[in-house]
Symmetry: C2
Subunit: 755 residues, 2 copies
Amino acid sequence: MKKLLLFLWLFLPLTAIATEIKSPNGNMVLNFTLEQGRPTYTLSYKGKEVVRPSHLGLELAKDKHASLGMAEDDLMEGFQVVDTKTSEFDETWKPVWGESSTIQNHYNELAVTLAKEFNIPKYTGDGTAPGTLLEPHQRRIIIRFRVYDDGIGFSYEFPQQKDLNYFLIKEEHSEFAMTGDHTAWWLPGDYDTQEQETQQTKLSEIRGQMTKAVNWGNSSVAVFSPTGVQTSLQMKTADGLYINIHEAACADYATMHLELVDAETKALTTKLEGSSNKYTPNPLPSPYPLPKPFTFVSHLTPDATGLKGAMQTPCETPWRTIMVSDDARDMLSNNLILNLNEPCKLEDTSWIHPTKYCGVWWEMIVGKSNWHYTDDYPSIKLDQIDWTKVKPHGRHAANNEKVKRYIDFAAKNGLDQVLVEGWNVGWEDWANMWKRDVFDFQTPYPDFDIKMLNDYAHSKGVKLLMHHETSSSTQNYERHLEAAFNLMNKYGYDAVKTGYVGDIIPRGDHHYSQSMNNHYLYVVKEAAKHHIMVNAHEATRPTGLCRTYPNLVGNESARGTEYEAFGGSRPDHTCILPFTRLQGGPMDYTPGIFVTKLSEWSQNTSWARITIAGSLALYLTMYSPLQMAADLPEHYEKFDDAFQFIRDVACDWDQSIYLEAEPADYITVARKAKGTQNWFIGGKCDENGHKTTIKLDFLEKGRKYNCTIYADAPDAHYETNPQAYVITKRVVKRGDTLKLQEAPGGGFAVSLIAQ
Amino acid sequence: MKKLLLFLWLFLPLTAIATEIKSPNGNMVLNFTLEQGRPTYTLSYKGKEVVRPSHLGLELAKDKHASLGMAEDDLMEGFQVVDTKTSEFDETWKPVWGESSTIQNHYNELAVTLAKEFNIPKYTGDGTAPGTLLEPHQRRIIIRFRVYDDGIGFSYEFPQQKDLNYFLIKEEHSEFAMTGDHTAWWLPGDYDTQEQETQQTKLSEIRGQMTKAVNWGNSSVAVFSPTGVQTSLQMKTADGLYINIHEAACADYATMHLELVDAETKALTTKLEGSSNKYTPNPLPSPYPLPKPFTFVSHLTPDATGLKGAMQTPCETPWRTIMVSDDARDMLSNNLILNLNEPCKLEDTSWIHPTKYCGVWWEMIVGKSNWHYTDDYPSIKLDQIDWTKVKPHGRHAANNEKVKRYIDFAAKNGLDQVLVEGWNVGWEDWANMWKRDVFDFQTPYPDFDIKMLNDYAHSKGVKLLMHHETSSSTQNYERHLEAAFNLMNKYGYDAVKTGYVGDIIPRGDHHYSQSMNNHYLYVVKEAAKHHIMVNAHEATRPTGLCRTYPNLVGNESARGTEYEAFGGSRPDHTCILPFTRLQGGPMDYTPGIFVTKLSEWSQNTSWARITIAGSLALYLTMYSPLQMAADLPEHYEKFDDAFQFIRDVACDWDQSIYLEAEPADYITVARKAKGTQNWFIGGKCDENGHKTTIKLDFLEKGRKYNCTIYADAPDAHYETNPQAYVITKRVVKRGDTLKLQEAPGGGFAVSLIAQ
């Protein structure tokens, strides 16, 4: 212990002067200072103020175990600077999969060590109550800033020390003070879902829009405040700066939301009135004054008792990230989030691969067939049913015949895998009943011959893609995890789609809490031991952990294609997601709907707000190493010439060039398929259509390319004429130009196959 | 679904007349009736009223998922009787281990089917709000009474039915209306511990005694009410009736406490003022009127959200049990709790065996050595420490040399196993820090050679007994469970002592909640798959589940011998436990302290309030198939003639005869060792001493027995002269008489070895 004490008292407090640190090219400038003992930072970009003076700190919870070394005293104010260190870092690393085959990680770092002194009553050690004698103690934290040319990250570090070993977080108070009434693309802050439609308003309009935003589409679950929003939050200033706030490397910590202070804010976290959302927040009042309007303050997802986290030093928070540029394309090409994550921790990654797949899925989402097998029982107990004796209702999709049809389709069209949902028993009463033992992840329904189907698939060069819906009963899933992964290994599955529909069991917990974030990563790590890739749906939104654990090949964590069958999403939805949800990692958006009017083949009156050419564009604009062809095989067979693009397109890349971008308007990107000279270009636009001219100056000099253009027909329209497309073929070379017209809600896709 | 509806409406309501059912010998009489639609029962014994009219029912919680089939309407009142069935049952079964080799299960049963009709707004099915048209619905429950000659059990059953598939329990309201101001032996009701000292007061004095009871010994954790008490609750009436209330077969349901209504009760569950107990209850107000004073009402242990249970039909509550007799010995020989549990579910039980053990334990409890290995770190992260490089503090008890010493001792003295606590890494900061990843249950400290020690033990015919302290971080334990059991199988362990010290993680949950009760049984079931016996400490108090899962060979769940090192327990403590804690199953009390003044060999000033002869008696009076010789080998070597009894005594029995008993005063029992003609007799008394005359009329006619009597010396006393004992040997036969004098806090032990 002696050594530690020496360390603690060695440095004398420095005078609290402001410290400035610039990004490598000097465009991004961060200033740190102590404002009356509170850590404070500002940020500017190319001389423009981006973040006004903003406080940093954590409020700690009082705990019954305080006397055992649990810290209670807040880490908010009363600090002195005892050390500042600056350094530069520059490396280039290779992701296992990604938008490019190398990524530069270049930043300047400022690490500020802060000390706070406080007195606590001295214990005599004889078991009697403490007397009036006060004993001086000290706690140290480090705030670490990394300043990149296109953004910053900062995190709080808590070194192991005598007076700070364990603590409970009541709330993190990281402020992001905006300079004005920016335009923002936001989702209602919610402890359990990100499946809402994005709202586009001024900051000052968030409060007025919240109730409508929450009620819209009925997907909100646990909204906590009339000005609470989720990250990644994309903004645009009146003078053309793009700002994005998110986080990186959120592992064993609660997911961060942002709460806006506006003119009406009296206290952070108050109940949202007049919404269909059932959550009643139980705010823990804070003694600290509200910051100025237009300031976002961090708001962590609570556990069942309302607290935000249990920490043990040495530890650190996730990185809080701010991306800034005057060019919207930089928001998409930015690698800030990945760079702030730790390098890959898996020694062998040879078994991780990009995957194109189809699946027995869309027809169930649309309502034409079912996940469950029988209507015999009002409820199911897994250990009490002899499944060979129950009466099937005849609409069970995951049956041998249908799965073989999908396997044949995948094999014929070069798709790698076939997802089959509803293969395992328990779907009769699976969701939202507070039922713990919902699934066993091992027992197939009687009409799903797991051995035969895997053998059949393998004989055709195809794999099945496993599905583990947990119904958010996480204890049940963890109890079966090892056996479920062993089953996958036995039959030759190497990827699992997990699902977390419904309220978390144990009751009171939330999808984005510290314990759930720990759970999701636990599953990813356990899967890695079995050489299994994970694609987690309804789990926490990603924060770049796929760099460290690249078997996390996908997440949903946003409003996916399924909503096209639940009332639809706006045509600009896919022109927003790359700016927001995709910042933290790839999304299993499940694109590829060709028959957009669902009533053409089902009872479902919903329809997808996209053209066929627009659907093709998504394979480029919505980057993912895992891409689904979500529509039915017969629909692709009907439009086989358009489907050729899905057959051809890659999903892993050497290089990506964002040619055009504007949030909620349009995105155009060119990508070079990994290990080849082939390029693919995709453009997607909103409901207004978009004209673009693409100069092919990224092609290899002197090489010719067979160019196939999948474009909206002149009269195409996402609502009235979505299936109108034109396919054009020509030979092109570097320097040639493509002129393309995207229809309202449409897009285009181009393949450039090197000769 | 048609069949189910038919069933529901087939029976017309019967007139609600009282139904009487008697026990096989007619002594116990139960009456059931509906009192204004509320199920009501009374109980009498030999013509004396035992339970006055008492209501039965469950209050359900409103839930956000009500529209999905979650029941909200209470199951409290408005019932009609639609069916009553009576039947008789008589069987004799053989426990795997126990106080006798056969047990008779003989009862008369009354099953009352109750229906409740209610209306709910009819949904049109088109997704719009429900209209004003009400639709009639019906729910059925069954209350099943089993009436034995020495007690009753009742439980609520919830058949699977259209209108009752899932429900959340707000509270169970089972009443037990006492006839007067009985004497009670009680523990403060607590959601997390039963390690308090028993209080002996009149019912009317419970409220006045509660604060003192809670503060005493500082072991209370989560007390919920000034009149809340635990079960099993032993009472005695003014006219000599013994009454015990407990429960049987509490598996996936919250542990029941009892809340007494007294003259001061305004509402059930209010905060206890003026206590050091930190728990603040958050009572859910009930609309139902309070019963009359002297009535106990069930109070279930809540989850983190305050609710008491999540149920899915078909299901049932545990049995609520009332044992009654005018002979205190019947309280101890009663098999009601075991009989109300389901028969053994393990097909092969050949690997389950009674066990005598010693262990590296007491010297750590006393404070002379430690569980942990190093003082190098203020806190520990398991994956960040190279244990071969840390500096040992030199007081680590679970080291090779010491464990070999214990193995030698066990081998020499015929003990089956050696418990070693503190063998695995993580003890440096294990308790009450809200630390999830406390132990991995697999990595030994550097000075514990797990292979060598197991090999060494096996070479001497001894096994090691595994220790899994979970620190109440149950998710962490479940994550490691399979690997931990595999490790045990690998090295040849066949029994584990588990521990649940500290607050439950996830935070907000309690030791006795539904989810925790599920956890404990999950561990027992998983252990059975590995042929591992379980001895769970700090887990829920048992309710006879060891009949169904006989690999659950022990529990602590009460104030054990360790408290003799924490300030001590009263001398009458062990004369109460068999009436209360032991009703549900055996306790790993860890008896056998010979050197009772701990200051003789340690810095600990505490002392055990018992004589050596009294310590020997506990091996008989505190029945368990698992018996520890808890003191140090050198202490036993010093008193080797007395230790001979521990070498000789059995811990599995063909027959047990309680010769004398009075709660908190004395217990005398004779037991015949299983598969032999040998008998052992033990007598234990309180601080007042006790004289007894034992007629040996249970011995086999015509056979002679070598009788060894281990008695308190005439001047023995638990405080002043605890090590004074006299060993006498003679030959006895059936019909002979033994006259014995037990010292204050003393007892005696007798072995009768058949010639």
